[in-house]
Every structure is written in C-alpha cells, then in structure tokens.
Symmetry: D2
Subunit: 360 residues, 4 copies
C-alpha cells in the first residue's frame, strides 16, 4: 500500500519538530511537505530549523525545502503545529481547499462541529465531520486534539467516567519546559524556581474535558457535567507533565474497583492496528514514588499515561498521580493518532489530484 | 538585660545550621552550647560542621566545642533539631532535667499535653505546659512547632478559619530540597525530574493543622474538624515550599472578604515585640505569577508567608498559591519564634544554677 | 556634600537593573535619570522593567519615568548598560555633549585613547581622558570596564604580573546564565547541559587583558605581551563566573611566593575610600573544593574575586581556580568603581548647568 | 555459537547497572552471575537494586539472585564495577582462581604487568597478560580500562599522537553527576553551582594517558613523555563529560592536517567485528557550539567521542572541545569492548569446568 502523503504546518517549532521525528518512519504516512512562516520559506529544513528535541533530526527531512502555509501542498492531510494566533484562518483555508487537517492548535477545539478527539476516549465524535462539512461547505475538514495537560488527564479519567461517573475533579499540574515551546522559558526564570502560572492553561483544563467526555446527541455534543478546578505550574523538567488529581465519583466505588478500572482499561482501539496506539493506554505503577517525569515519560513510546499512588482522598473520593509525555501524547503524537483513526475509518480515502495536490 | 543562654541539639545538620545562623545575632538569646552526635563531640563547630546554607557561618560559633546531647549543657533553653528517630528520649531527658525545649522534631507534636505552636495561630495553647509538667513530673517542658509544610499552611488558614470557618482543604505541595536535609536528595534523582512522594509528609499535613486550629477545652485540645487532603512533591528548588491550596469555607464569603481577611491579618503578637515576628505574617501579592520560591521566600526575613492568585475554586470555594521559607518559617525560625513567645510570657523566668547549668 | 547625579542608559536590562540596585543607596551618587529604548520611554521604571535579579527593586526608583537615551538627562555622569549594537554612537553623543560616561559596553574598550579600566589594576590609564578630549573635541569623556570574564581575571593576574611577569596564560571559563542577559539562555538549552561556546567571548578574553596590563607611554598604551588562550562555556549557574587558569610566569617563583603575592594584594586604592572598593580585592581560600559559584560569589559584596586550589601546573607554571561575580565585579559594580575613581581624582568636578543638566 | 558466560561484580551500583543494561542483549556475552556486597546477597537483583539509569532495567535480570563477590561464580569472565577500596583483593582472588577479569576499578591500572587498555589505542598491550600470569602465577588475568575522563581523552589524542606526537597537554573537565555514582553528589551541592574539585581525578588524568600511549618494550611499557595538566570540575549534567583540551604537538602540523587526523581516525579494530566498537571512534562536528553533553553523549551508542571547535591555541598548538559518555565509553562500555577484544584474540578460549565454574 502506498503511504499517505502528509504535510506539517509550523514544522520548525518544537511541536513541529516532534511531528517530523514521529513521522519520519511512520508505516502509514510519509512527509511530503513541510511548511513554515514566510522568513523560512525556500530554505532546506535542516538549515532553517533550530532542532531542540533530544532525538536526532531524521536525515530524510534535512533537504526538504520549506514551503509557505498555503493550501498548495502536495499531500492529503496536514498536521497543524501552528501557534494559536495564526492557526485559525490558515487551517480554515486548508479545510476549504479539501485537505484533512489534524490540528494541535486551540483555535477550533471548542467549535461545536469540530471533533476534539482522543481516539481511546471519544472516537464516535468523528461523526461531527460530516456535519462540519455540510454546515461550513468545506471539502476537507478539521479534527483537533486537546491541550497537553488535558490529553493525558482525560485518558486517565475515561475508565472512571465510564464505570462510576465523575462529578468533581481537582487537578494541580507540574508542567515541563517543552510545553512552552522554544525558546520558551528563560533559564533565569526557572533555575531554583517554580512558576505557579501558565497563561490560558487552567481555563483549557477546566473546559476541554467536558467536551471530550460529552455525549454526541443528534448533531451536537452535550458536554459532561463535572466541576473542574485546575492549578498549573511550570517546573524545571524537560518533558513530561505531572498531575496531582483528585476525583469525586458519581457513585460509590471500592478502592480495588478503581484501581482495576484504571489498570484494566484498553480502550476501543484494540484490533484497529493503529501504529501509534499503545497497548496499554494507562499504565498503573505500584511503587510509592512513581510516576516520575524522567523515569516514566517514555512509557509506551510516550503514548501511554502512567498512574501511581492511587489512594483515598479525604476531601473528594480518590486521588492519584498522573504523568504523560506532553509533546507526544500531549501534542504531536495525539494528532498523529487522530490521523491514524481517520485513516482507519476511511476519512482519508479520497482521490488525489493527478496534478499533485489533493482533490477530494 | 542579660541575654538568655540557649543550646542547640543537632547543631550540625541543616536545620541546626539554620538555628545557628538565625541565633548568631539574636537580641534576646545567645548560643552558649552546641550539641551533636557522638562522633563530633569534642570538635570545634567550624570543623565538624559541613556548612551548606547560603549565608556564611557566623564567626562567633566556629570555635565552640561540640558537646553531647546530654542535659548538662549550660543554658536555659535548648532548640532541638534532632532527627525524629532520636529526638523523643533526648528531649524527654532535657525536660525532666528542667530545661525548656523548643523542638522542631515530630516526636511530641501530637502528644495531648504538648503545645504544637505557631505563635500567630494558637498562643493560648501554651497553657498546656502547666498540665504537661504536672502530669509528667517534668521540671522543664517541651513545646513543638509543626512540620514545614504545615507551618506555612496553617498561618495562611488562620484568618479564614477565624472569619469563615473551614470544612475541607486540599493542598498539593512543591517542596524544596533543603526540606530533606543534607545530603538529602541525590542530584541524579532530581535533575530534570519531580518526585511525587515525601515519606510521612502527607500524613503530617493532614493531621497537624487539626491540633493547631483546635480549641483548648479544660486540659485538652479539641481538634478542629476539617477534611484535609495533601499530595506532596519534591522539586528542584533550594528553599521555599510552594503549595496549591483549595478551601471549602464554613460559611459563604465574597471574594473581597476572603482577600481582605488574608491581607488584613496581623495576628495576636502585635505589641509583644517578638524579634522574629514579621510585621505582616501574610503578604498577599497581586501579580498573576507570584509567589515564586526564588523571588519570594525571603519575605519578612523568611518569616512571612506569601499568598497569591486568590481565586474562586469550581470544586471547593476558594483557591490560592502559598509560599513559605521551609527552613526558617517552617523549622528553625518557627522554633525561635516559639521561644520568643515563651520568653515574653514569662516561661523562661527561672533561676539558673550557680554551677552553670539551668535549675528551675 | 551633595551627591553626584547619575543616569543609567539601558536601565531596564539585566546589567541596568544591577546598576539600579547597586546605586540605590550609594553614598556618593544618586540616580537622577533612567533611560531606555523608545518603546519604554514615558513609562514608570517599576512598570516598564521586568525585574529579574534576586534583590528586590528599590522602591525609590519605581516611579522614575523612563527617558530616551538622548543627552538631555539631568546628571553629570551616565552609566551605560547599552547593548554593543547601539552603545557606540549613543555614548559618543553623551561624551560630545559633556557628560562623563562610564560604560560597560564593548564599543570603546579597545579605542587607543579610551581608558579600559580596573581601578586596582591600571588607575594611571585615566590619563588617556585628556588625550581623548583633545583628539576628539569632546567636552565629556568615556571610560570603559572590561568584559565580565576579563574583569575578574585581570584582577587576579595583577599581583603576579607585577611581581613575576606573565608570558602565557590559558583560561577555561564556566560562565553563569546572567552573563547572557534576559531572557538570554533558553532553559531547554541548558538544563542537563553545558554549551561550550559564547559568541565573541573568547576573543575579548584573549585581547582585553593586554591593554589592561599595558603600559602608558606618552599618549598611548603599549600592550602587554602575553600569549592568551581562552575557552568559554555556559553552565547552569545564576551568577558567578568560574575560571580554571594556568599561567607561565616571566621569572621563576616559588609556590609560597605566588600564594603570598595573591593573598597579600591590596592594590593602589587603599586610602582613597572608594565606597565599592573591597578591602581584599583577592580572597584566597584554602579548602580543596573552593571557590564555588553559589558559596563565594558574594564575597566582598560581589567586588572581591576568590582564588582557590593554587598549585603547580605541569604544562605552564602555576594554575588556580578563580571566581568573580559577573554582574557586579564583571559589569555594573566595575563601572561604578570606575566612576568612584573618577570622582576621587577630580574628573567629575565640573559645574552643573543651572537649567538642570550638566555643563562642563 | 554459545554465548560466553559473564558475571558482574558490584552489579547494583551505577556502573554495575550500566554493565547490566549494556550486556542484556549482547551478541557474544550472557550474564550468568550478578554479585554484590554481603547485605544484598540472596536477594533478587530487581529487588536489591535501586535502578537509577535512564533505560529500564532489563526484565531478564530481575530474578537473578545476587551472589557474593567470591570466585565461585558460574562464568568465564567477570566485569568488575567494584569501588576502588575493595576491588584490589577481590579481583586478585578471581584472577588467581582462573577467571578473566575486565575491571573498571583503578586498583591495577598502573600495575606494570596489567594492561590498561583502550582497544582502539593500544591493543598490543594485551601481550602483558602472559607476563602477568607468569610473574604472578595466576591462572586467570586482569585487564583494566582507564578512568572515565582519560578514556575519552586518550581516544581523541591517539591520531594526533600517532601522526604528530604530543609533548604537552592541558585539559579542563566539566564532568557529569553520574561519574560520582549513586547517591553521589547531593542536589543541594550542585543546583546553581559548580564544584571545582573531584577527589583523585586530576592525578588519574595526568598519569593514565602516559601508560596508554606508552610503548611495549620487552616485558614492560615505556610510558609516553607528555606534560599533562588537568583541572576537573563537577557540573549539573546527568551524563557526558565535556573536556576543553589544548595540545602541543611534537612537530609542526597544519590546521587541516589536524582536523583530518581526527576525522579520519578509524583505529585498528576495523574488520574484527567487535559488537561495541563504533564505526567512528571519533566524530568531528563543525557547528560552532558543539559538542554538548545532552545532544551528543549518545553518539555511536555512547561509544564514540565527539570533537568540536578545533582551532589554533595561542599558548600551545591546537585546542578543541571533547565529549564522551562517561558511564559507557568511560566505564562499562569500555570494559565490555575490552572483553570483546579479549574474546576476538582468543584470550577467553579456555575450557569451562563441568561443575559449572570456569577452569582454565
């Protein structure tokens, strides 16, 4: 089978680099276009990009010449790693022109007809695509993944939500530096320090899970009703957001039931063979001092979340520590898994234009 | 007025060093004895002690020869910075022999007849001293200060407790390395990492505030009834514990009332002239990203706590960020302020023995 | 005596902030003007400046309204903390208009008629001022201080140079983050890392000491002849540049002679009463593992350099470890000490204009 | 071919863990015995060992029961990761009993009849084994690898030594935390700090290269004559020692010649098929700011050293920056490569005893 051609918008940024790294040897997708802001257009990627993630830049992309973020890229799907300020109109242009857009940007996450998607959590929300195309007259479409802290949180909540319901949730995050992009957090601000504030983050964490856990009813999502409180901190770790989570369940549940719900979770993707789907979306550890960012962030190639220290909470019902890889499960890996679900469900089965770019 | 002679038990450890540094120029107290474990006895302090806190070792203590932790020290009061494993029996020996003991150790914190004291919070609990002496037949006595995370927390809670009551409390801590003593946390464990566990800490934070905010009734403390949940983390900061706090109040309270209660708090020490008592026990900052450990830990010479980001909590009632200096307000400074309160209330007005050590 | 009015150019940057902090309570100087780039002009300093150094912003400067870097400031002397790209022409404008300029910028450091000055090292180079004014027709003048790594190095070299001569010098630096200004080094670049390169730095360290240790002959400096090799690294410390230094002396010298030359150095400022001059410009430590940035950078209020581990070098003659506070002895403190020398030598004794700004 | 059975002495320490990780899937060797100090004997490795390196503990070793460091292990070769204090006599016992010992400890490095070996540098020194066995009456033998800083240094020096000779060498190291083992460096000592001292290290770096680059003459090594000066620092990196190196060559050499000598070096192992031998023992980078520990330490699976910033040195002849992975190329990987060379040269071709342990 020919691989599906994909492009990356905002390819030189930190999340863009993660897309490049994760897609370099992807079994289903091949990178056929890299796009960036105007000042890099025309330069080879290897030259224009200040590569900052730990893994080496794949040699296959070094010579790819950067293009502008215009809908003339030779590919069927674009991954968007664009900054929130510019993502909205650019993604709309691509969707209008017939591209599938798998976006990591926040612009469309809360739009009623755009799926905010975590494949293990709400794959049925893909049904919004048809509504979206009908309403907006787009030949293509947009799907989005949640903000990094939400992506890992909602995955851990899913089995509890399904089994017991959740009525309230308190989460305090300790987020890694890579979440702020590059150059991001100045070293003088974070060495021997913690910053108890991340612009916009708490609002996203308090809102996005409601849509993700919501119910598709007719042409709309009825959002979940959960009181959520988030307090977000930046700490001096490279990758891996840690979250201290407490939940109030919708019904009584014993400790073992809760642990088993988490540990036993497999999700609805078993059997689909999605390349980025981890066998264990949730890994539960027994040690008293895990998960830890440096030790656990690469679990499941960065696509599993790790839960530890599950215990009763004297205020709500249960509390636990949660860790996820913020630029993989929380960003690029999330968007790629979304695209894999799209492919497996036939959403990418349209004809490509003989002239080279996509044509639905 | 002659200064009151004081000794320090466990003087070479990290908290012991902080005692030495804070007492070197104290207007009421003078260090007349330093005691440590057997292997250092007989050595000059300057030689035996691997000094690790930022301030220089005071020159006045360098030549003091270390003594054993036996009740033959020439002083009226001893500060105990002993590790929990050995503190209990040693402190008892000193109290039996007639010394006043101001202890930072956990051994006696929850004993019903021993004051667990924060002078701005529960100075009336000093009345337990008489009961303690009567029951135990001690000529001296013990007072204790809470664990570091609790000390700063209960200070911030005090005005809310007094004005509105508190029924539930959720706190997530991001604690500094100095809290683990020296050598403490190995660098390989914490560089690019967070450890979501501190042995014994959560239990202390969930329990100690109940006694501190409790009511003295007859000869006992009736503990406060508050559901408390604590989740404790170690992060790569040198000094200054940060806490993300949410509270459910006992009665309805408007946002401005809450902020004013915190900001307006002066405590019951005004007018006593205690040297270590900060003018503002609680400092409320307006900036969106404060308090931060490195920027705010020295507020009020490390004796003020700093509160920021007060806002409504969707799960409980209000939430805020809290910072305190863990080895000052949370340890040595706390015990010294306790001793100052003891002195100002006449608890140290006993005769010293002409032979050199104290005799009540 | 009335204090001398001074202004600060580039007052909002990291070095500018250090000027503000060090001058806030200066016994000879008072800040009468703060100047910054156009986008901050008209704003109060407290609002325009993102304060990043550890000490609190002095309250006295918060309300000072920022002016442009134009020679209409009401003061006699300006300290320049301007970036190298813009410093040259601006400083010339001020010197032309009659201001004394004490500059931390590199623009004029190597100009033959501009003193590159460390008061303990080459105070006689002030004689260049007259030549400078004559040649350039300036009513005012410029003096400069060396780059941070050079400032501390040349101070430690001075007694060796005077006593034994130096023919070759190898220095490897481990430089603090603050040396790169703010935002400066991204945290993702330096956490768990070292960067073995600082743009332009090695050239400065290999060149500036030659002028500093040079001989004033007639109207010019004859530069010292020393072969210098520098290798510069950025490491994850906040303040305090560490340097591993090896020297080849001009004549044979015994180990004790070398140590005594360093330890006994007092410099030519004794008796001048310069407020920022440390009693001991060089502090020699005996411990096997000192100096260390965090423990020793504040020696002499950041104006002393600390030398340790003096030992024979199998390749050159002697080697030692050197530490200095890069934003104090290496930048703002250096320029202030230069200004104090200027004041004590009468270079600031000109009339001020009754209309408010200086007039030679 | 059956794999050769190997044991690890000191298997629970940091270097021991690295041996375990690197040997878990080794094509020639299989771990048949793990030995540690008395207090761990009898416990399964997975339980006794506080695993601290980044890679996960191989599942295959978790159940192996720890034995004592006595020569009754069922294997032909033992890797020694013992601390220097105990390594000497234990290794002697094993050699006496007929085991091949590949040691990372310093005890025998400078013994005249024991090879101090880097396979790419001095494979001919293996000839000392026969002399060693004859003189000492050992049935087995010991080979050693150099200290971590030396291992990477001597590899980079080798092509220069061969082509041009070296008469003097100055090296300043910036060494990673893992070099101090676990728990090793306390976090309070290194956060926001550098320690300019590592016990014993400078002496090793000044001495070991002389033997490594020495000439086998008859039954002894005539040591190289190079004046070496080392200054060693501990910095806050996890893995990867950085070294700033200057060399004086034995003859004149042009810049391009020097770069080509480094870049072109392949060493004498080509064709032997040693599994751990990197294709490029020395990788030369062109970027102005490389090598960096976090970015380059894994080059060649941690077995290549990376050289950058080659330039002329105003004091000696040439200088460059050098990086190597200290627990792979500098410790466990070095000893494993030594063992591979032993195997390929027939030094491990002796009969194993049917009773289970080795018998030459």
């Amino acid at each position: 089978m020919d691989k599906i051609k994909v492009g990356i918008l905002g390819a030189t940024g930190m999340v863009g680099q993660r897309f490049v790294q994760l897609l370099a040897d992807h079994p289903w997708f091949e990178i056929s276009a890299l796009a960036a802001s105007e000042r890099s257009v025309g330069m080879p990627y290897g030259e224009a990009c200040h590569w900052v993630i730990a893994e080496e830049m794949p040699t296959t992309v070094k010579e790819i010449v950067l293009q502008g973020c215009k809908p003339d890229l030779s590919c069927r799907l674009v991954f968007s790693a664009l900054p929130a300020e510019v993502a909205g109109p650019v993604e709309e242009e691509f969707a209008t022109a017939g591209y599938a857009v798998s976006s990591n940007a926040s612009s469309y996450r809360l739009a009623p007809d755009v799926p905010l998607l975590v494949p293990e959590v709400n794959p049925d929300h893909l049904a919004l695509i048809e509504i979206q195309q009908r309403r907006r007259g787009w030949k293509g479409f947009i799907v989005t993944n949640p903000n990094c802290s939400t992506a890992q949180l909602v995955l851990a909540l899913k089995p509890l939500w399904d089994r017991f319901g959740i009525t309230a949730l308190s989460v305090v995050t300790l987020q890694a530096l890579s979440g702020a992009g590059y150059p991001g957090v100045p070293s003088l601000d974070i060495l021997d320090n913690v910053i108890p504030y991340i612009a916009g983050e708490e609002g996203k964490v308090e809102r996005e899970p409601l849509k993700l856990l919501g119910q598709l009813e007719g042409e709309a999502i009825r959002e979940a009703e959960i009181a959520i409180s988030a307090q977000c901190h930046r700490v001096a770790t490279r990758e891996g957001h840690l979250e201290a989570v407490s939940v109030k369940l919708g019904q009584e549940a014993g400790y073992q039931e809760v642990v088993e719900a988490l540990r036993g979770f497999r999700g609805p993707l078993q059997g689909l063979g999605l390349p980025s789907a981890p066998e264990h979306p949730i890994v539960v550890r027994e040690e008293v001092d895990r998960p830890q960012p440096r030790l656990d962030r690469d679990e499941g190639k960065g696509m599993s979340v790790v839960v530890g220290r599950v215990r009763e909470c004297p205020v709500l019902d249960y509390k636990f520590i949660l860790l996820g890889h913020n630029t993989i499960r929380g960003a690029a890996g999330a968007a790629i898994l979304n695209a894999e679900l799209l492919a497996s469900q036939g959403y990418l089965d349209f004809q490509e234009d003989p002239e080279g770019f996509r044509n639905p």
